[in-house]
Every structure is written in C-alpha cells, then in structure tokens.
C-alpha cells in the first residue's frame, strides 16, 4: 500500500495555522489546485462525518469525508469518497506541531491508499508533490514564509 508524506515549517503560531487548516470547507482559500468547495447536506465544517465536495481548477470533482478532528492534537483525518484518481482506501491526515524555540509550526500531511501497481509512481508523485507539498508551500507563503 503506497504511503505519501510531505512536511514543512510555517512561520506562524500553531493557533493561527490551525484556524486555517481546521476549516474543512476552506481549501479554495489556500490550496492552489482547488477552485470551489461546499459542505454537503446541512452539516457544519467541524462536524465529524461531514462531506466536502470540491472542484479542482482543472475541472475534476472530488468528495471527501471528515473522519476525525482534534483541536487538542491539532490534527484532522479524512478519506476520499469519489475522485477521478484510481485510488481506493484513501486515508489522509494533517497534523500540526508547535516549535517551542521559535514562533513557528511544523505541518505534516500524509496519506495511504491502494491503487493499481502500474499507477503507483504517477499517483505518489501527484499526491505527494502537487497536492500535499504544493499545498503546504502555499500555506507557508500565506503566512509569509
């Protein structure tokens, strides 16, 4: 089962970074690949089980479900329900941790999923570099990094 991992340092306090990350409907405000997002049904963004349906800038649509959210550990976990990618059992997690010797935050984004073996390299590259590392870089720049 492929696993992907990306991380970065963000020059802002963990509370500020977390406020941006914890909003499950806010991807278009900081992720460069995402155009639009909405929460399905009448759920709130911090209701575990809620589903976000978003559209990528290239026109594709993805639905993801919030599986866990912790203000205590600064982490959230979600799964993909539908996407144009040939992945199954996709489980991803974002985790923040404070740096105690500077006013910065360590952010990591990881996932594991199943896919046809001949697609592994392409999908790992896409998810790890473009989606995760690309997203973290945008987040870092948003906070002046």
């Amino acid at each position: 089962m492929p696993t992907v991992y990306a991380s970065t340092l963000i020059p802002a306090s963990i509370e500020r970074v977390w406020t941006t990350i914890r909003d499950f409907n806010a991807l278009p405000t900081w992720h460069p690949l995402i155009a639009q997002s909405r929460i399905e049904g009448y759920k709130t963004v911090d209701q575990v089980g809620c589903i976000r349906a978003f559209r990528l800038k290239d026109g594709d649509s993805i639905r993801e479900q919030l599986l866990a959210l912790s203000d205590f550990e600064y982490s959230l976990t979600y799964s993909i329900l539908e996407s144009p990618m040939p992945v199954t059992n996709y489980l991803a997690r974002i985790q923040l941790m404070p740096l105690t010797d500077s006013n910065s935050t360590f952010a990591e984004w990881s996932a594991e999923f199943s896919c046809p073996s001949d697609q592994t390299t392409t999908l790992v590259e896409l998810v790890e570099k473009r989606v995760f590392q690309g997203g973290l870089t945008a987040l870092k720049e948003r906070f002046g990094g």
Partner: protein, 494 residues
C-alpha cells in the same frame, strides 16, 4: 501529572540526526549534562528493556530504561528507573520527523512525570532547559561542525573523505574461471535514492557461471558479476529515509556487480537484516532462499498432502525446496543423478529419492504414486528433464520450470499439456520482488523460516573475494553442497 514538550529544527537530514540519537548508549558523547554512560547486564544499546547507567557532569547518577525504539518512525521512549531528582513516573519520548521541502529535521522531546508542587517550577525549568534545550543545541553544534569540515575540502569536486576505496573482481572476456582479475576502485557517494554498502560477504550462484562463460545474455564485458551480497550501510543518498549508516543490509537482484568490497545500490532493492541473521548467512541464503519462498508460496501455493518432485535435491535451491516442502506437509520426492547424494536428499526431508538409471524417472514416479503422477514438479534442469516431467505429472498437475541448467526447452507442442490439464509456469524471480512491499513480504517469510529452523542454509565454503576463481571451479565441478560465499575484509578508507 506534569507534561513537558520541547521542539526544534536541526539543519541536517533526518538520517544524520537519527544516527546520533538512536544510540541509547551514546548520549554522553554529545550531551553536556552526561559525562559517562554504560548499558547494564551486557545488553545491546538497541535492545528494548536495556538500562543505561549515566554518570552526570555534576556527579549525580541516573538509570534509564529503553521502553521502545522505532527505526521506522525515528523515535524512542525511555523511563527513569532511579535518580537523585525529586520526581517519579518519569517517561520521555524523543521523536524526529523529516521536513520534506528542505531536508531538515523536526525534533520533539517530550515527557510526563510527577513531583511535589513546591518543586514543580524548578524541576520543570531544569529538565526543559538543561536536558532538552541543551541537548538540541549540542546536536546542532555537532552537526554544523561536521558539515563545515565536509565542505571545507572542496566546493568543486567530491571531497576525498566521501570517496570509498574498494576492490572488485572483473572479467575482461567470457571464459573459464581464469578470466577474473582484481581491480582497485573508488566508489563515489551514493546518488539520490541510493545506498553505499560495504559488502562484507558475497553470494556465489550458478547464474554467475552462465554470466561468466557467456551462455547467458545478461552482461557486456568487461563486467563485474554477482547478484547477491550483504554488509553494512556506509552512506545514504538524498531521499533515502529508510536506511542509515551502520545498518546491516543485503540484496539479491540485478544488475550484476556484487563481486566487490563496496557498491552503490538502489535503496528499494535492499532488505534490512534481522538481528538473528548474520551477514554471511544472508549472503549465502537470500537469493536461493527467496527463490524457494517464491516457488512454494507464490508461483505454486503448496498444500499439505500434495506430492512434489524436486530435481537436484542436494543442490542449492533444491536442498531448500525439499526442507520447506516437507515442513509444509507435502510428500517430497527427490530426483538426483548420483547415488552419493541420496543421503543428502533424505536429510533434507525427501520421503523418497529416485536415481534415474535402468528404470527411468517416469516409471519410478508412477510406481511411487500408484500410477497417479505427482501434483507439482520443480524443475531447474530444463531441456533434459522436460519430457520426463510432463509424463510424471498427475491430472491437473503443475510443472514449474525455474531454471534451464541443461539447455533451453524449444519446439514444444502445447497440445501435449491437454490430456491431463496441466499447468506450466516459467517464473521470473524478480517479478515477485519488484516492489518494496513484495520484497519485504518474501524476505520476512524467509527470515522467519530460517529462525524457526524450517530451512537450514549450510555455509560450507568461504573464500576471500580475490579467490573467486576457486569458488567458481568448485561450483562448476558440481561437487559442492550448501552455499558458497566470498568474504571481503573492511577496506581502509582514504
């Protein structure tokens, strides 16, 4: 309960930081608060439960027990067993995480403990400043010093100290064992995704002879042969996070080039050796052992009660096949060309051993199976045995042609497989270990079989690397049993 949490960023790759921190008995080498350390009861520093006994710089003493250690997520936990400090139930964790966009390392040092309310402030300050933050700073200083001396050598060419001098055995043209000659080489630092290995033991396999004499279209001369070796990680390239220097690793895969005292290999081809498996054993067992595992568990899933015919039961792979198949609960028939090898085959677990002679293989098999034929045949012989094999199979039987020692099987009519609905497999070993996951699954299963005594790999023949010609003569003479390995002493660095 008090909880402490301190974190920092170290400007070095995670493998470099982890190499220092992982040594549970090495903290006195870098931490200013500790002047001496030893591990009690002669345990090793990475043995869970090991107790380190510190003498502190201020004269005090602390004993700490290792509770967990993970090379997979770069962390360890420990607890204080005894100390002069007014604290109890102290448990701490050291955790590293890679920062993937700049190759730095995020380091967390956290703990929980109890103390009296009057002493809480002082103790909390003391541990977080004098232990955690002072530790962060010493590692930062130590690594930047190492880094500066590394850069000082040259900014234009590879620094001398990162080149490893080694020896390799080259063939200049195809031919007999006399074609080998010795060559001094310099191994550059590993490229991205690679690992540089000091190869302390090298496996010699029959496929190496086919490469040497040119009967296998696998190499262009001049070339270095060999598909199997084991040793220690010397250096890792960019992006390699699963290995670090000093670890014991092995591989069994193309490209050829194992006959050398050091080599760069792709990290994805390497397996980490468990503690119980020695470097020499790994070099003698990995290729034949993984072949055996794949044949009996993946190409065919052998079931208890099945009858299996194994050619050359005293040979390298044959010997392991017989042992493992017996353990699974199959009835094993060995077929050997010489009477002297009957005993070896029986010792490997063969229930019956046949020697083709006046009565051929087929009639002996039919006699032993009451005319039914066998369920599975593992045939590494090829041309000479193929037709006997087809006739010896029972209904729905499976012929696995995993080698062609006697030559290629040509011009065969597929309709001959029909009357008994037989299956013929022609497996390519490396297809079964071409991803890190599958390589790990196969090698884990092999190491478990070795540890549990399911198979016994005999290391009877060991030659120095420079005497590889002698090893080839022995193997080619078909007089050897068990594995042949070459040993290479550690080469002195420049």
């Amino acid at each position: 309960m008090i909880k402490l949490f301190r974190s920092t960023v170290i400007d070095a790759p995670i493998a470099d930081v982890w190499k220092i921190l992982r040594d549970f008995n090495g903290h006195h080498k870098w931490h200013p608060a500790i002047s001496h350390s030893y591990i009690e009861d002669e345990k090793s520093a990475d043995q869970i439960g090991a107790i380190r006994n510190f003498t502190l710089a201020n004269g005090g003493a602390v004993r700490e027990r290792l509770l967990s250690l993970s090379d997979e997520d770069y962390s360890f936990r420990y607890e204080i067993v005894e100390s002069d400090l007014p604290i109890s139930n102290y448990r701490a964790k050291v955790q590293l995480k890679p920062i993937t966009d700049n190759n730095q390392t995020f380091w967390i040092w956290s703990s929980s403990f109890e103390t009296s309310p009057e002493q809480e402030t002082e103790i909390t300050q003391s541990i977080s400043k004098e232990i955690y933050e002072a530790g962060f700073q010493s590692i930062r200083d130590k690594l930047s010093k190492d880094h500066r001396s590394f850069n000082a050598v040259s900014t234009h060419q590879i620094p001398n100290e990162s080149i490893l001098k080694a020896k390799e055995m080259v063939i200049s043209h195809f031919g007999g064992p006399e074609v080998f000659f010795e060559k001094d080489i310099e191994i550059p630092p590993p490229r991205s995704g690679q690992v540089r290995i000091r190869q302390l033991a090298i496996g010699v396999n029959y496929i190496d002879i086919y490469c040497r004499n040119g009967s296998f279209d696998f190499i262009d001369v001049p070339a270095v042969l060999g598909f199997e070796a084991a040793g220690e990680v010397d250096m890792v390239g960019d992006g390699v996070t699963q290995f670090y220097p000093g670890q014991r690793v092995a591989y069994a895969c193309p490209p050829p080039g194992a006959y050398a005292s050091a080599r760069n290999m792709n990290a994805s081809s390497l397996v980490l050796l468990p503690e119980q498996v020695s470097i020499e054993l790994a070099a003698g067992a990995l290729l034949k052992g993984m072949t055996t595992e794949i044949l009996l568990h993946r190409v065919h899933r052998l079931q208890p009660g099945q009858t299996i015919l194994v050619y050359a039961p005293a040979g390298g792979v044959g010997h392991l096949l017989c042992q493992w198949a017996t353990h699974i609960g199959a009835t094993v028939i060995g077929c050997t060309s010489s009477r002297e090898k009957i005993e070896i085959a029986k010792k490997a677990g063969c229930h019956h051993v046949i020697v083709p002679g006046a009565t051929g293989i087929v009639s002996q098999i039919h006699e032993l199976t009451d005319g039914r034929g066998v369920d599975v045949i593992l045939d590494g012989v090829g041309k000479d045995s193929f037709h006997h094999s087809i006739k010896s199979l029972g209904k729905g039987g499976h012929l696995i042609c995993y080698g062609q020692a006697s030559g290629r099987i040509n011009n065969w009519d597929l309709n001959q497989a029909k009357p008994k609905s037989i299956t013929i497999s022609s497996p390519y070993f490396y297809d079964y270990i071409d991803s890190p996951e599958s390589l790990k699954a196969v090698s884990d299963n092999l190491f478990q079989a070795i540890n549990q005594g399911v198979i016994n790999v005999e290391l009877k023949h060991k030659y120095p690397l420079v005497d590889v010609a002698k090893a080839h003569r022995l193997l080619e003479g078909r007089q050897s049993t068990g594995s042949i390995i070459l040993s290479s002493d550690k080469v002195v660095e420049s």
